[in-house]
Assembly symmetry: C2
Homo-oligomer: 566 residues x 2
């Protein structure tokens, strides 16, 4: 990649600026900045999960360097829905930005408060919130007018947002899908958005731009799930994401309707259901949900367990059940295991292993390859075309996906007759500016370097630390301790060697002994005067031992020389 021109200070102008921020690969997914003179609106504050080479990293949060010094301009943070890639960074970023006002639908705000409490107990009540009670409410934040519209997604209370300014009207559905035959709610229509003040700027999640297969309709998925639950010879164990609250609600209410008991397991699963119940979004009688420790009190045929861990995370509930480490659930041949979620890219092999182990325990394992029991919360290429036709925007900004999906979305729109000069494929950090309805892509970008969160550390993991982790992961390390007489420069006694992750020390005694000899010989022949310099000795040992071990093993462990003066 060519080096980017980066700016943190762009002069304030009478214009509408749109700046996608966030993780890195999926443009704008985790955060978007809207700036109009001295008014700033933010959309979402999510986390991104690390790539394969970001070892040990918990997650990545949006880089907010551009907002530094502008905290007072932030009129509100709008949250589109309650998934972690849209709310996960809220506890960190809200604090950093001086606790601005936040606005969202009831479930979204409740989930943000949960996340805030998990991060720092007792702090949720300090959040300044506006609840969108009715999706038709309108709000004024500085010079921005804001309204909302419902969208189909896999969680209740997902909304799209309309942000109006004299320079243009932004329409952003957030995460969305197009459910042609929704269960228990009305069809979502976008055509009213075609009547908004022009020019309209559509920011559209374009993850589906190359998806040509028909989505599994939710009605099919629910019918299949209900059929399996009904026909199960014994218990039903469902592994899914705790974020699939819409689906969990459906299963819970169906179970209740046929007199089955449900036990939930997994911290986030229990918390999310509890939260949705409190808001009245899930309707359960008192005794329909039971504690997981009580499953022995009911006959198998009456039981459903819904748990987290469908990505094979080693400590999550489903893995513990399958590996025989769960306190209350032990799989038997008559259990039915349902694996109802998508596979997050990068987790394929872990999930394959989990499936293998499931099939060894149960004769009734059901996953998406076998039956349509998962319905995506995201759209297809056809859905995108349908929405473009309904909204007929003046400008089209494909977002929320890797660059190549955005380029494909552009092709799709051009094929549908959309003028190419009215489509903008942005990067994170791009500044697209509208002045009186005319767009201009700024030549510079705002900073978007990764901000890593690892344990309690935010942004303290540098690329140096990551590179070290990669070296350590690949070939381990060798510590070589040399004691040197401060006066004479002679080495004292034998060098000591400790290695981890390189070779099994117990069975590699000869290699270790040879390395010690090598070091001794190396330092014996050298000029004692120069050896008075610890750095000199250290570098010499590092080079020589590195070469020696590579010649013997073809591995390049990290070599750490320690020189002790006595």
């Amino acid at each position: 990649m060519p080096a980017k021109q980066q700016v943190t200070q762009v002069p304030i102008t009478d214009s509408l600026r749109i700046i996608p921020l966030g993780g890195q690969e999926e443009v704008g997914r985790n955060m978007t900045v809207f700036e109009y003179g001295t008014d700033i609106l933010l959309l979402d504050m999510g986390v991104q999960f690390p790539e394969e080479d970001m070892l040990g990293i918990d997650y990545i949060i949006p880089n907010i360097e551009y907002l530094r010094g502008k905290e007072r301009n932030i009129r509100a943070v709008i949250f589109s829905h309650g998934h972690l890639d849209h709310i996960g960074a809220a506890p960190i970023l809200l604090e950093k930005l001086g606790n601005p006002l936040i606005i969202g639908r009831p479930l979204t705000l409740a989930l943000i408060k949960n996340r805030q409490e998990d991060s720092k107990k007792g702090t949720a009540k300090r959040l300044k919130t506006i609840t969108i009670k009715n999706v038709n409410e309108r709000f004024k934040f500085g010079k921005f007018s804001v309204s909302f519209f419902p969208v189909d997604h896999s969680i209740m209370d997902a909304v799209g947002v309309v942000i109006s300014t004299p320079h243009g009207t932004v329409i952003h559905p957030g995460d969305w899908t197009f459910e042609k035959d929704p269960v228990g709610r009305r069809n979502v229509e976008y055509s009213h958005l075609a009547r908004l003040p022009r020019p309209t700027i559509l920011m559209l999640e374009s993850l589906g731009s190359t998806s040509v297969h028909e989505r599994v309709p939710e009605r099919t998925m629910y019918r299949n799930l209900e059929h399996i639950i009904n026909a199960a010879p014994g218990r039903v164990i469902i592994g899914t994401f705790s974020s699939q609250i819409e689906r969990i609600k459906h299963v819970l209410e169906y179970a209740q309707s046929i007199g089955k008991k449900v036990a939930l397991d997994g911290y986030s699963m229990k918390l999310n259901v509890e939260t949705a119940k409190k808001l009245g979004y899930i309707k359960m009688k008192k005794d329909a949900l039971i504690g997981i420790e009580r499953i022995r009190d009911y006959p198998d045929r009456q039981l459903i367990v819904i748990c987290t861990g469908a990505q094979g995370e080693s400590n999550a509930v489903l893995s513990r059940i399958i590996n025989g480490n769960h306190r209350f659930v032990h799989i038997t041949k008559s259990d039915t295991i349902i694996f109802s979620s998508s596979v997050i890219p990068g987790n394929e092999r872990t999930i394959q292993r989990l499936k293998d182990n499931m099939y060894r325990l149960s004769d009734n394992v059901i996953h998406s390859d076998i039956m349509d029991i998962h319905s995506s919360g995201h759209s297809t290429a056809d859905d995108m075309v349908a929405v473009l036709k309904q909204i007929r925007p003046d400008y089209f900004l494909p977002v929320y996906a890797n660059h190549y999906f955005l380029k494909e979305a552009e092709k799709l729109a051009v094929k549908e007759g959309f003028a190419k000069q009215n489509i903008f494929v942005l990067d994170n950090g791009s500044i697209l500016e509208f002045v009186k309805g005319s767009p201009r892509l700024q030549p510079m970008k705002v900073p978007t370097d990764y901000v890593f969160v690892d344990g309690l550390g935010i942004g303290d993991i540098s690329h140096v630390v990551l590179r070290d982790r990669q070296t350590l992961a690949g070939d381990g390390m060798v510590v070589i301790i040399v004691t040197v007489d401060r006066k004479t420069g002679d080495i004292v006694g034998d060098p000591d060697i400790i290695s981890r992750g390189f070779v099994h020390m117990k069975t590699s005694k000869k290699l270790i002994d040879d390395t010690k000899k090598k070091v001794k010989l190396l330092l014996k022949d050298a000029d004692p005067r120069s050896q008075a310099n610890d750095n000199y000795i250290g570098n010499k040992v590092r080079d020589a031992v590195g070469q020696f071990l590579f010649s013997k093993t073809n591995r390049r462990p990290m070599i750490l020389p320690v020189v002790i003066d006595v």
Copy 2:
């Protein structure tokens, strides 16, 4: 997983034993043992690529402990085709097994010889080989009769094998697909295999047991590739596996027919094409292939580059081209980039990043989501049913896939009317014994623990070393050096601290200083007599520093105390 009963010695009996060996997840893919009294036949010697948690491992080879002491019984090693998961371990295992006779088709043997030379220069000529010149030849190895049949796969010279004994006839197509409309060769038929002496035992690759989507026919793929090559406004750059020799041949010969020049890049790509050319399997005129350094001598429209690296491997040719690090190829907007290969599970995100970067450089990027330019070398569920119907075996052993695929293959066969008691889903290490046509699954298994290859080390990486690499990868490490007065037990001077992959030391000075203070305080208060014991001090420091750093960072680096007596 329950502990397996493992045996290395099973008494020799008058029976046919089938033992799948190999990697681990994909049952039997890398190696299968056939044993009949004192005669042993081996099928393939492949490598498996490491799972995500096997850090730094190059590859995994079959565990041959069962064959130890039986080397003299090995009559031959049959190689089904030249892909690495079937031949990659040959240089290591043939040597370990006393260099037994090997048999295969010309290209397969040539590729094994290449691999052998890469491993140890000058040793290929020592291999004892039999070339299957005609696929209808029959061979006798001890009490085994062996014959072959052609199969469709993505490499020339792929064969299935028939192994006949008085106790049963094994039919094993190896890796296979079912090409209904092959280009440039005849349709493969399996029905003649229904007439072999009974009982017949079909071992069938069952990777496709849940694949319900139609495979892309090779004719479609070739037509699309030809169309793109023809219509390209500039150069065409094709990234694929060097193992897709069938496809590479087709592109090469097509390019020649329309007067385009092809430059190959990537070590294995050039070697494989050279090998296939020498055998006459690829027919190219002298000047149709050019060196990659000569591409500047030709107009762009006349050029095709075929290179390795379609999985996004960071040092492979395609990545170097895309990242601007290739010596001769620099992408321009008019280049067409074709990404013609499947995605190996686990590489998804790396490939997504590679695609992003391609789309930034070129307006003509073509991959499987866009057009059918990849055709799988493996079969679908329908193909499996077709083959079962053609061969009508007495026993069915689904193999070459993860356990859950094998179980699904079993369901598939049962649905087609196959008797469940005649299907055996084996694990690696399972012993299935046939005595006069009757099968019996032995209660014990042979050893199949992973044998890791890392650099020059074979089997020297233990689970301890891997666990250490995981810890180091996750949170890095901290070395704490304490100098102790041998006589008094007092610590001398300040402790030294080195850390890598934990925190950025330069910006975490306070944490490091606090840790030093902690150590000093800890050892000051302790009883000097017990401190004379280095182990005691080490453990004490490890525990205290581990807890201290966790409380400060929520990370658990590896703590390595070093105690120096002076």
